[in-house]
Symmetry: C2
Subunit: 401 residues, 2 copies
Amino acid sequence: MNQSFKVFCQMIGLATVLSGAVCLAAADDNSVGLVNKQTFSTHDFQTFNGSEIPVVNIGWEAYGELNANKDNVILITHFFSGNSHAAGRYTEDDALPGYWDSIIGPGKAIDTNRYYVISSDTLVNQEPHNPLVTTTGPASINPSTGEPYGLDFPVVTIRDFVNVQKALLDSLGISRLHAVIGASMGSLQALDWATAYPDFVERVISVIGGGAVDPWTIATLQQWANPILADPNWNNGDYYGGEAPLAGLRQALGMVTLQAMHPLMFNQLYAASGPGESAPLHDIRANFTVVDQLNAAADARTTFADANHVLYLVRANQLFMAGFSENLRAGLSRVSAKTLFLPASNDLLLQPYLARTAHETLMELGKTSYYEEIDGPWGHLDGVYLIDQKAELIEQFLSTD
Amino acid sequence: MNQSFKVFCQMIGLATVLSGAVCLAAADDNSVGLVNKQTFSTHDFQTFNGSEIPVVNIGWEAYGELNANKDNVILITHFFSGNSHAAGRYTEDDALPGYWDSIIGPGKAIDTNRYYVISSDTLVNQEPHNPLVTTTGPASINPSTGEPYGLDFPVVTIRDFVNVQKALLDSLGISRLHAVIGASMGSLQALDWATAYPDFVERVISVIGGGAVDPWTIATLQQWANPILADPNWNNGDYYGGEAPLAGLRQALGMVTLQAMHPLMFNQLYAASGPGESAPLHDIRANFTVVDQLNAAADARTTFADANHVLYLVRANQLFMAGFSENLRAGLSRVSAKTLFLPASNDLLLQPYLARTAHETLMELGKTSYYEEIDGPWGHLDGVYLIDQKAELIEQFLSTD
């Protein structure tokens, strides 16, 4: 680990556990402990675009205890490259806990002594080949053919992610959510929940997200799809019997890695590289160290990922407007939950103006909404790594009516 | 043209001439008039990395008159996708003048009644197939084989661009520059001039640039190279007898287009597109309007472009540190020119911190340096389209010792 990064981890009060290029909290006394991953299935699922998926399977996990009234439930919705694993460990040997372990646990901001916290995998999750992820998407077997769906899988939206979660909650007899909380793509689900099922949702916390994508965000996300579409192995999505489009997938996930970070942190993490390197000066085929490192990180991210799933995830995000109405204002007019927006000041991907627009629209509509920015060097990733900074605010927001 | 964009063009006082998605000034009374493009050749050119290029040809043009002492010369250095055409028109029929026509001309900030303004094409210019560009690079004929160089062309740096310009000025008997001024990649050349030939350069204006690239910028620029490297037609740079890697080139130039703009302007230009479009909801193969438009714009940009040239341009930028010394401070210690940095506040590509770092380093070294930010909605492109905003400052900077 490079020294300045180690210092940074200590500075922000985290144990210096490094995974890829990430410092995360080590296990603490307030952990939710060992977590059990479960599977939920639903049949004849109707998608927002009017298609039907015969069988949907998704993974989920929970922390804390469901009370007798079943009214202490908080739903956590995950980000683009994430999954249900928001807190705790699956086994004692896990190197790292779930991604928001710093705010989910007994006595923490999302207090598992009070709340029953549920988190589930989305449809078309990026990592269908991860043994700890259960998802349904183009890599899943199409029951009508016995082969993977490929592009026969219908386009799905954030609303479909929400509807699968709704079906899961229905199956558990839960008819009320104390809060829905998510980061990035998770924040889109959280806000859409409040428009889709306004009587169901009491509070929404949108971290590093917004109310709707705009042309710039659609075009920016398209950059992640393009290398996959250009890979000859992609073969119009039909590659499951042959060679997968791993080069395109790697390029896509490399861009996700880079674009989710601000130069402030990126330059610390990759400080060993710079314009003075000798190999790239003498050989146009030679890479800068930072490029090799980023490629290696992207390569590691391809292990469990599927290229078509990335395309479908990109599309789900590109199609997002909370409420799925004629415009954002109309969509948000249905919200009865109170909302808290926590964008990151240095976010270059889902920039703070997206959250501010949603917040201001809700205020204009007479709703109760709060807005505060996370300050940090990571950029977009501040919403994952530095969420702790807003722990007290989150705790207060959850504790008051 | 969409209405809000028209309003914007009027707002900033420009005639609403649209080229691609760009409003530029129409011809005015203070034009430099018709411009004549010339060619300069030099032989046995020694590159910074120790190679030799037997013949270098580059295009150049000039505005104003060289005085008897040859001490009224201003050199303009061009940006990544640009060429020597900074002002005026080649023919009466040209739809648009050169890119900085708003500040170069009789009575303008860079006053051609006073100064002899020279502008030249760089090595490995993006558009070797543009009849109005003369450049030498991998698409040029290697005299020792009679075939295009391809990857046998040596890696070149910003310093090599400077040295070709130096040879051009030497050939004209010019031994002093009143100023070197450039935007983006042009700003890198401008600042490097002052480190390479400190006795030659009196003033530097660095617009939307910086003193050195950092790992984040190296990685960001690499994104433009990757689609070319991944295109099977690229064939390790050897495609001149066959099919060019146009798909990769288009993807690269699409990213250049997108990443040079800030959402503020991008969302106005592509306001017709949005998350509510029907085709992408129903077909994963269908594109959003903004994606089709961006692809079309990128396609148009491939007309005269060469994929290897883009790779070499990316590399030249990735290798940049003014002075090419052990660090930026050492490089800048050689500067005797006074410097003016004009980054754009909303630049997401070469962000203002790069210029600020160079400015502060020069100040620490006891040099005379000024720093002001261009305010606008374009992002990086503010340095091209809204340079007019700093016309008075530029005029003052050029007029004082």
